[in-house]
Amino acid sequence: MQEALNDTQDLKKQKKEKQRAKNRRGIRLFLLIVPFLILVLLFSYYPLFGWVYAFFDYQPPIPLRDSQFVGLKWFAMMVQNKTQLHQIGQVLANTFAMSFLNILTSFLPVLFAIGLNEIRNKHFKNVIQTLTTLPNFISWVLVYSIAFAMFSSSGMVNTLLQNVHWIAEPIKWLDSDAHTWLKMLLWNLWKGLGWGSIMYLAAISGIDPELYEAGRVDGANRLQLIRHITIPALMPTYFVMLMLAISNFLSNGMDQYFVFQNAFNLKHIQVLDLYVYNVGMGNNSLSLATALSMLKSLVSVVLLYVVNLVSKKTRGASII
């Protein structure tokens, strides 16, 4: 009896000990993620405090506490007339269009990686890969100076064409509004293609060689190997990348568009981030720019719900 009692007490003790150890472990694990939680709080939630500027009439150098509270004035201003709405509509159209074009062409790095993988000459392959990856490390400012040197009205291309008498007047590549979206897409591709394919090259090298051997034994040629082995094996990676790209739909960067913008192409190059910058920094309306940038969050939330809905309908499971 006594023994049994002792046993249960021992058991309880053991349990308690176990529980404590578990707790301790939990705390330790929690401590591990604390820095990241703080990072998230500081960089994702703390900046939201800046939204408060959208409700004030903030004019530096007068500090916020002395600024006038204006309520929803700036939001009303955004939608107060047709032209204003039209402008915002155009900006959103630009943002969506260019992001969409980027997503539409996101299969190109896959093809490039496959093609690169098929090159047998190792040296040639390395040269190509280096040359195509390098542009990724050039900042947009430098890309623009390259573009300017080549395509400005007195740039290399125009001078060359003029000297061989193909054209009489220089062609305006940079300062015209023709095919702005397409041009931006091409620059983006030139800069990002090599870099984007690295992930896929890694995935390709991870494919089990036995699959290829089996394929060859079955009499598959090179194209069939690509079609039935390489591409299916790359699909999971591709979809992860695609999802990431979609989640960045609205943040398609502004430095590219910032350096390429000018009076002639502004209408079609102004994406949301650039518009916010131009209004806030260029026109000195920081409060209005804040209100505008909140628009981005709003659109993001709407997009998220749409994607979630689609996912529910098609896969039967929601993402969030």
């Binding site: 330790r28 401590l31 591990l32 604390v34 820095p35 703080i38 990072l39 500081l42 009439d57 004019q59 530096p60 150098p61 007068i62 500090p63 002395d66 004035k73 201003m77 107060q80 007339n81 047709k82 032209t83 204003q84 039209h86 402008q87 300017f148 400005s152 009205s153 007195s154 007047e169 220089p170 305006k172 940079l174 300062d175 000018n262 009076a263 002639f264 502004l266 131009n278 209004v279 920094m281 260029g282 026109n283 000195n284 309306s285 920081l286 409060s287 209005l288």
Partner: protein
């Protein structure tokens, strides 16, 4: 186990410290008064300067002069160099310290904001014995009023003048004017230029002549740039100045108060100027690089003689009229445009909007006030005159008194008339022109009389210099301009100048709603203006104009224009008032 725990905690702590480190704030607005003592040590002074076109530590003979006199080294912060706009002002002022010395405009409520935010300090406690600053009490009082204060000297306005507000503040050349390459104009036989339409055909002939003479050179009659675009395309405003207008917001106001034009109105001066550019473009006279180049690139083209028309004497003449070129009969001179009536700024008794002030966080304020006082002294004005203003430089270096009259020294002649020279070792080193005051701050109008010499600060008006600068170009020009001695002489004799009385009008603060509207509208106007200049034909130009008018109307242009119109009319009231005030003196 324990070790890892410690390591973990340390990492976490380090991460937090790193993160929080970025959020540091230095907010402490203390208003120290005169009590502090000057340590007499070498002082690095940060100068926030809206006028400067140079950023970094000031170098050269002027910097050496300041260092020798005040033991001050100036570090210039220049928004112009940093990409323009008000970004630099906003960020620096939001951080609570704009600079030790601040040169900026008082308009649009900026002076008020600076005082309210405690960024500039009152100079009153330091003014004992500062006779040059005190001399301009009218100007400092005017600034006090603009800043919305009832007492205190919050800064000293620039370009103060003792001359009549109804006479031109410019010296021998006006600020604006249709300057053309006289040598090519001569070669095509001095055709008559009745209006800007004629100008296009004259320029066309000149360009053809110039290209014939210099095959292989890319010569264009017109070359434009976008650096200074504001409420409108800056370059397109310049031809309106040939007809007596100047901008105020979206309004072009005539110097004599007769006319106020909305810049978007279909047959207004601004649209006419755009049309002039577009006609020139259609005739193949506009440099295709215009929309992408900056001022420096364009300036180089002027220097090489690849551009034939200049809106300003201080562009075309400064770049190309070297003594060598002028001796050869080449150079920019004002064209005899029949119907012009050039806008001229009258002398500003109480200074302009731009003023110089002391930052509230500055150390050794007494010394800084002494420095500012010196900038307003005859010696300071002569030495520091604005980069393009043409003051005479320091006595003993570039000029000396001879028989009671200032004359250029040999070194001065080399510097001002013969394309530059290196400063003698005693005065520092480097080229004279590189060493001028990079503050680019005209404390006193350069044409004012230097009380010590009884002649103007600007050497260009000295009799000795006027006599010495007669070259082949001047003679030929003079022969065809009815014997006029200088441009000003020609304009005055032929009544082709319209002086706007030099009132110290400061635009009042506008509501932030109006400024955001203005921001959006001006982007539209500037961009559409550029497109219109490069329109392929007249009908494209017209349709662009209509669409611009429609867009700005949709952006509530009317309410911004109302503000500008009122300001323009208020400005004229002040012009009338200062004219009366001076007449009654």
């Amino acid at each position: 186990m324990k070790k890892s725990k410690i390591a973990l905690l340390a990492t976490a702590a380090a991460a937090i410290a790193l993160i929080l480190g970025g959020c540091g704030k230095s907010s402490e607005t203390s208003n120290k008064t005169a009590a502090e003592k000057d340590d007499g040590k070498l002082m690095k002074v940060t100068v926030y300067d809206d006028l400067a076109n140079y950023q970094g530590n000031a170098k050269g003979w002027f910097a050496k002069m300041v260092k020798d006199k005040f033991n001050i080294e100036m570090n210039i912060v220049a928004p112009n160099v940093a990409g323009g706009g008000s970004t630099l002002f906003d960020t620096r002022s939001a951080a609570g310290n704009l600079g030790d010395i601040i040169i900026t405009g008082s308009g649009n409520g900026r002076a008020k904001k600076l005082v309210k935010a405690g960024l500039i300090s009152d100079m009153t406690p330091y003014l004992k014995g500062m006779k040059y600053i005190k001399q301009y009490s009218g100007a400092t009082d005017a600034l006090q009023k603009v800043a919305g204060q009832t007492s205190g000297v919050w800064g000293v306005p620039s370009s103060v003048s003792a001359s009549s507000p109804t006479s031109a503040s410019e010296g021998t050349e006006p600020t604006f004017g249709p300057y053309i390459r006289w040598d090519y104009y001569k070669k095509i036989g001095y055709p008559e230029i009745n209006n800007m339409d004629d100008m296009v055909s004259v320029l066309k002939d000149m360009q053809a002549e110039a290209r014939k003479e210099n095959p292989g050179k890319k010569i264009y009659a017109l070359s434009l740039f976008k650096d200074w675009d504001g409420n409108m395309m800056n370059n397109a405003k310049q031809p309106t100045c040939f007809y007596g207008y100047d901008e105020l917001g979206f309004v072009l106001a005539k110097a004599n108060g007769d006319d106020y034009q909305d810049i978007t109105q279909t047959n207004g001066q601004y649209v006419k100027a755009l049309r002039f550019f577009n006609k020139a473009e259609q005739a193949g006279l506009v440099d295709p690089e215009s929309s992408t180049q900056n001022y420096d690139t364009m300036y180089a083209k002027y220097q090489e003689g690849n551009v034939l028309f200049s809106f300003w004497p201080w562009l075309g003449q400064a770049a190309f009229n070297t003594t060598e070129n002028k001796e050869a009969g080449k150079g920019f001179m004002i064209a005899p445009l029949k119907n012009m009536k050039i806008f001229s700024y009258g002398n500003t008794t109480n200074g302009t909007q731009t003023f110089i002030a002391i930052g509230s966080k500055a150390k050794n304020k007494q010394r800084l006030v002494k420095f500012i006082n010196w900038l307003y002294s005859p010696e300071g004005v002569a030495a520091a005159g604005a980069q393009t203003g043409g003051t005479s430089g320091p006595e003993g270096l570039t000029w000396k008194m001879k028989d009671g009259e200032p004359v250029l020294t040999d070194f001065g002649k080399k510097v001002f008339l013969e394309g530059g020279a290196n400063v003698p070792a005693k005065w520092g080193s480097g080229k004279y022109t590189d060493g001028v005051s990079q503050l680019n701050y005209p404390a006193v109008a350069p044409n004012d009389i230097n009380p010590e010499t009884k002649y103007s600060y600007s050497y260009t008006l000295w009799p000795s210099v006027l006599k010495a600068t007669k070259t082949a170009l001047d003679t030929d020009w003079s022969d065809h301009m009815g014997g006029a001695t200088t441009t000003m002489d020609y304009l005055k004799k032929n009544k082709k100048i319209l002086v706007a009385p030099g009132a110290s009008y400061v635009t009042p603060e506008e509501s932030s709603e109006i400024s955001s509207l203005r921001g959006q509208i001006k982007t539209q106007i500037v961009n559409e203006s550029w497109k219109m200049v490069f329109a392929k034909n007249d009908s494209e130009f017209d349709s662009m104009l209509t669409s611009m008018q429609k867009t700005v109307k949709g952006l509530d242009y009317a309410s911004v224009l109302k503000v500008d119109m009122k300001n323009a009319k208020d400005q004229n009231k002040e012009r009338v008032a200062i004219k009366k005030e001076y007449a009654n003196k």
